[in-house]
């Protein structure tokens, strides 16, 4: 059974079609990257999978369970985690607390009114593990707002990982990062446990081809091509959209 299954998804704002008959399937442990020019509807698609926007038509199934009409929080409890294109965490809270909330969301009991949140070993351990994976241990006590943009990006991913999701959606994880930070992010993504499925939106072709098992190209809301990296890179229509050379070179 596929981890994520998107069937004939459609979404339009008036006459602007942002998602058109999109079908997408992600196998357990698969790392799937979505590419496409600006305005191709990549983030709109992620928002529909995450539950931030409702599709007009079509179905979304996570692990065989239909979530098309479910609220984002219910999808998250079903094992979906995501980051956002722009950093949108809790600016005034510490790095530790940002990540700890991610762990609490799935493994805590939010309606426990008496046990201090900081005194839960299983939550603290998961928080610590996510911080360590992202190399953020030293910044744990820092207020998020005081971190560089690149470090905040890492915290985004750490907070999503703390919930140990089955499927992780990353919306442009390397946008705004320096080349060095981008390389570090690639290593982190490659090092993620294989039990976790990944759906990543990415512009940087170096990142795309170093992490993708499969690639889907979106163009004006519709799927232009989908398949293994080499196949997609060789696709004539994709090459047309990307004006040729860059994509094919990156594939080698």
């Amino acid at each position: 059974m596929s981890l994520l299954r998107v069937e004939n998804l459609n979404k339009a704002y008036g006459s602007l079609v942002v998602t058109k008959d999109v079908n997408l399937e992600i196998a357990p442990g698969e790392r799937h990257v979505i590419i496409g020019p600006n305005g191709a509807g990549k983030t709109s698609l992620i928002h529909q999978i995450g539950g931030q926007t409702r599709p007009d038509a079509g179905r979304i199934l996570i692990d065989g369970v239909e979530v098309t009409r479910l609220d984002p929080e219910r999808r998250a409890q079903a094992g979906l985690a995501r980051t956002f294109q722009k950093n949108t965490l809790f600016q005034r809270l510490s790095v530790f607390e940002n990540v700890r909330l991610g762990a609490q969301a799935r493994f805590g009991s939010t309606f426990n009114l008496t046990t201090p949140a900081r005194a839960l070993p299983h939550i603290n351990e998961r928080t610590q593990a996510a911080l360590t994976r992202m190399g953020l241990e030293k910044l744990a006590a820092e207020t998020l707002a005081n971190l560089s943009y690149g470090d905040q990006r890492q915290v985004e991913v750490a907070a999503a990982l703390a919930g140990d999701p089955k499927l992780l959606l990353l919306d442009e994880p390397t946008s705004g990062l320096s080349p060095a930070e981008t390389r570090a992010m690639i290593e982190v993504i490659k090092g993620l446990p294989r039990r976790m499925g990944l759906l990543v939106i990415e512009h940087d072709m170096e990142v795309v081809f170093s992490i993708a098992d499969r690639i889907t190209v979106l163009y004006y809301g519709a799927v232009l091509a989908s398949g293994p990296p080499a196949e997609v890179a060789a696709n004539a229509r994709v090459r047309e959209v990307y004006l040729g050379a860059g994509l094919a070179d990156a594939a080698h």
Partner: protein, 321 residues
């Protein structure tokens, strides 16, 4: 301004039991030996409103939800206490418990609708519900209408009675201490942390998997519960209740106390209640325009001390150590 102040408040300061015990001892010893009945009354009133202001702080400071109708639950607690004691002729202790229950149920019912909103829509909706209850109380003759209703018999407490100012004070102080302790536990719990996360970024909290509307509803109910306790105490203290306790003026006063003291710190709004009532009693004995003075101080607070009296004290203390 150091943004981390916000989280320290959310997480609570590291507890130093000795400090709290010293404060409690002071609050017992000084009045017992030195205070006259006027001062005792003023302190009792302060503690009652401190509980109400702290309950509003749960919503405002921690949840980022500004309620302009919090008097409704204070008033429901107070009306419930007086009405049940007087109309059914049962012990004021039992009626006080019923009053708290009524306030809590009222918060559950009103909250069910209000928590669908945030921001200004939330504020307006809380105000609308509170005004609804207020006009009901004004119009309904059977519960005294605009004159209010009195005649609550002060209940006995050990060898004394709540009619004795000292007994009333000590009883109120015990309830205040318990309420403060409970609310601090609350804001430090996973629930409290989730509430703060929602204040910071609700979209994110939902994406993480938090059932934010349920969290908000429970916060609303808990705030109503503690406001109801304050209302019941107020009824026991005064033996009388009028629609004033339900008015938007009362809701506004609670808001002022929270902002004056410093939202998101619990202790701050308690201090805010004290500062406000002291001003009310002393400035109003010199000039009729005491609200003008309060207004100027309020504007000053909002402009220069965004974190209120307590935020200022805490920063001083923090930089000294």
């Amino acid at each position: 301004m150091n943004p981390r102040v916000f989280e320290m408040r959310a997480a609570g300061r590291p507890d130093d039991p000795a400090k709290w015990l010293a404060a409690l001892a002071l609050a017992i010893v000084v009045p017992v030996f030195f205070a006259g009945s006027y001062a005792l009354g003023l302190m009792t009133e302060t503690l009652i409103f401190a509980i109400a202001a702290m309950s509003l702080d749960l919503l405002m400071g921690y949840g980022g939800l500004v309620s302009f109708g919090h008097a409704a639950f204070f008033g429901l607690g107070a009306y419930g206490t007086v009405l049940i004691a007087v109309k059914l002729g049962i012990s004021a202790w039992i009626s006080a418990l019923c009053g708290v229950g009524i306030a809590t149920l009222g918060a559950a019912a009103i909250g069910y609708f209000c928590v669908r909103m945030t921001g200004v829509a939330f504020l307006m909706l809380t105000l609308a519900f509170a005004q609804l209850i207020f006009s009901g109380a004004v119009k309904w003759r059977a519960i005294g209408g605009s004159d209010g209703i009195g005649g609550l018999v002060k209940p006995a407490l050990f060898n004394s009675s709540l009619a004795d100012p000292l007994a009333m004070y000590l009883f109120t102080l015990s309830v205040f201490a318990l309420a403060l302790f409970a609310m601090r536990r609350l804001v430090e719990s996973q629930f409290g942390h989730a509430l703060v996360g929602m204040r910071e970024n609700e979209t994110r909290m939902r994406a993480m998997g938090f059932a934010t509307r349920r969290v908000r509803w429970l916060a609303f109910i808990l705030a109503g519960f503690f406001a109801g306790i304050a209302g019941a105490l107020y009824a026991l203290y005064n033996g009388f209740i009028s629609p004033d306790a339900l008015s938007w003026g009362m809701s506004g006063m609670l808001l002022l106390m929270v902002v004056l003291g410093g939202a998101g710190s619990l202790v701050g709004p308690a201090i805010g209640a004290g500062v406000f009532l002291l001003m009310k009693h002393f400035v109003s004995s010199h000039t009729q325009h005491w609200l003008l003075v309060v207004g100027i101080i309020f504007v000053g607070c909002v402009m220069f001390f965004r974190q209120g009296v307590w935020g200022m004290l805490a920063r001083r203390g923090g930089s000294a150590t």
